[in-house]
Subunit: 312 residues, 2 copies
């Protein structure tokens, strides 16, 4: 397992390429929750999500030769933007495989950040085949959005910063989708927390992580009918063992609770957060007794939403 | 004119009752504008707008006897909420005269903050008569949203904080509606700026301040067909002389420019701002040459918007 010193080095390495995001609080949400909440605002991160951290670390860790040949990923979400922007900052080519069905706004964002898009039919097999073909042609390195140790370590640096500002935190809650943020946060808590525990939050509609922990093996989602579109993916063999060892609990929340928490953050904190980000606050509001009077950190994972399609 | 020391005292007096709001920056908006912008986020202020500052100062400056009898204002916007919350924090009764046509959401906000609403027909004469009647019955003191020196001084404290963090600012731009924020900011710049100038920004559709400065007398708006609903009011005899003496310029912007600037702030900074707040950034984007390479402060005045009725 990565040491505290190595995790500190990860943080130092990516610092020039990321924002140190602010930690916000809200009197009113504290009143409503009965808790003492600290929101680490990764929605203010470069390209609008924590994924910038892991992407930067993974690319920085490649050899100069590998960097020259570039990186490839298949994603239609935040990781595609993160890889594009991190690669651009470092002068590395970024090849992004996107399903032809991806919204134009997401393609445009990747293009803005300098990613080279290859479109493919919208299914996993075609995405993987297309990525493989690019790797063969260019020698580019494949980077996975959540099941890659360098990515996981990078994601953990948000919690390092949060614990530097609030060392007395008793919990840090993150949303869990592919498991990269949760595993990285749990590692950061292990090394930088004093009395802090790691908790994951996910929708009932995509509760693979909850079932994976319960059953001791990686479970999949049969349906993913959730507004939290960043949390539909499943855990991987790199992050699941870390989550098993270091995470105390996964709290599941209803869709209505996610929408309510999201509206509360928008209306009261005046910040724009993705539905996935609201899942962590929804967990606090659902389990009020557990968090009553506790200092609790919440990682606001991102703020990339379609403003013309809001759930309220 | 108020001295630097007196203005410092105002700031110290209200500090326990307000948030010290963060100053945010955006690489991308700096790139787009060619300027070096510092956004003072009063949308994160208590009740969501800078008006909290002036309201707190005005109530704190009343004698204990006057405080006991309460305060009254007629407003359907942020000042009603600010007076209600500031009065509640200080244990002072707040009487708010609102037009019967005011949206239920605004009435609800005033009630949440403890204001006692009296409804009246939606015209200025009835609002003033109703306020007068309440003053006679209760002995409450009338507070004007923008044409009151204590309110003006309170509003200026946002710029004091901004200049403490960024003493080298060359401009601070604020939206101008009733003139309280602009006059207060200009005073703060005079006493706390090193080489800073005060600029106002307003819609062409409500350009009374621009015409007032040009013609040397307080002008009114004949039409106010603007999305910036906080900027439809006119200057008053207390703030106009300060604006005349201390403000360098009023920049006017088109409605399309306001919407574009608002969208840019929402999408790129991930913060929720009112249309009125976006007017200041719209001014920078309209007059790029003027602000090119300059360190410029922007007061984001507030973040109270109806999320179900966005202009984009």
């Amino acid at each position: 397992m990565i040491t505290r010193q190595e995790l500190e080095q990860v943080h130092q390495r990516i610092l020039p390429h990321i924002h140190r995001t602010p930690v916000l609080t809200s009197h009113l949400i504290n009143e409503i929750s009965g808790s003492d909440l600290y929101f680490k605002c990764e929605n203010f991160q470069r390209m609008g999500a924590f994924k910038m951290r892991g992407a930067a670390n993974a690319i920085l860790n490649l050899s100069k030769d590998k960097q020259r040949k570039g990186v490839v990923t298949h994603s239609s979400g935040n990781f595609a933007q993160a890889i594009s922007l991190a690669a651009k900052s470092l002068g590395v080519p970024a090849y992004i495989v996107m399903p032809s069905s991806a919204p134009e706004v997401k393609k445009a964002a990747v293009r803005t950040y300098g990613g080279k898009i290859t479109e493919c039919p919208p299914n996993l097999k075609d995405r993987e085949d297309t990525a493989k073909k690019i790797m063969e042609e260019t020698g580019a390195t494949f980077l996975h959005p959540s099941n890659d140790l360098d990515v996981i370590y990078g994601q953990g640096t948000a919690a390092i910063e949060l614990l530097e500002e609030q060392p007395e935190l008793e919990y840090i809650i993150t949303p869990v989708g592919g498991g990269g943020l949760l595993a990285g946060t749990a590692l950061a808590i292990k090394h930088f927390g004093i009395k802090c525990k790691s908790i994951g939050a996910e929708p009932f509609e995509a509760d693979d992580a909850y079932r994976s922990l319960k059953n001791g093996k990686i479970e999949t989602n049969t349906s993913t009918n959730t507004i939290a579109d960043g949390l539909k993916t499943q855990l991987g063999d790199k992050n699941f063992p870390l989550i098993q060892e270091l995470v105390q609990e996964i709290i599941r929340v209803e869709e209505s609770e996610i929408k309510q928490a999201m509206k509360l953050i928008w209306e009261r904190m005046k910040i724009i957060v993705e539905p996935s980000s609201a899942v962590a606050l929804a967990a606090v509001l659902r389990e009020k007794e557990k968090f009553k009077g506790k200092k609790t950190g919440i990682i606001i994972s991102g703020g990339n939403v379609d403003l013309r399609n809001l759930p309220f």
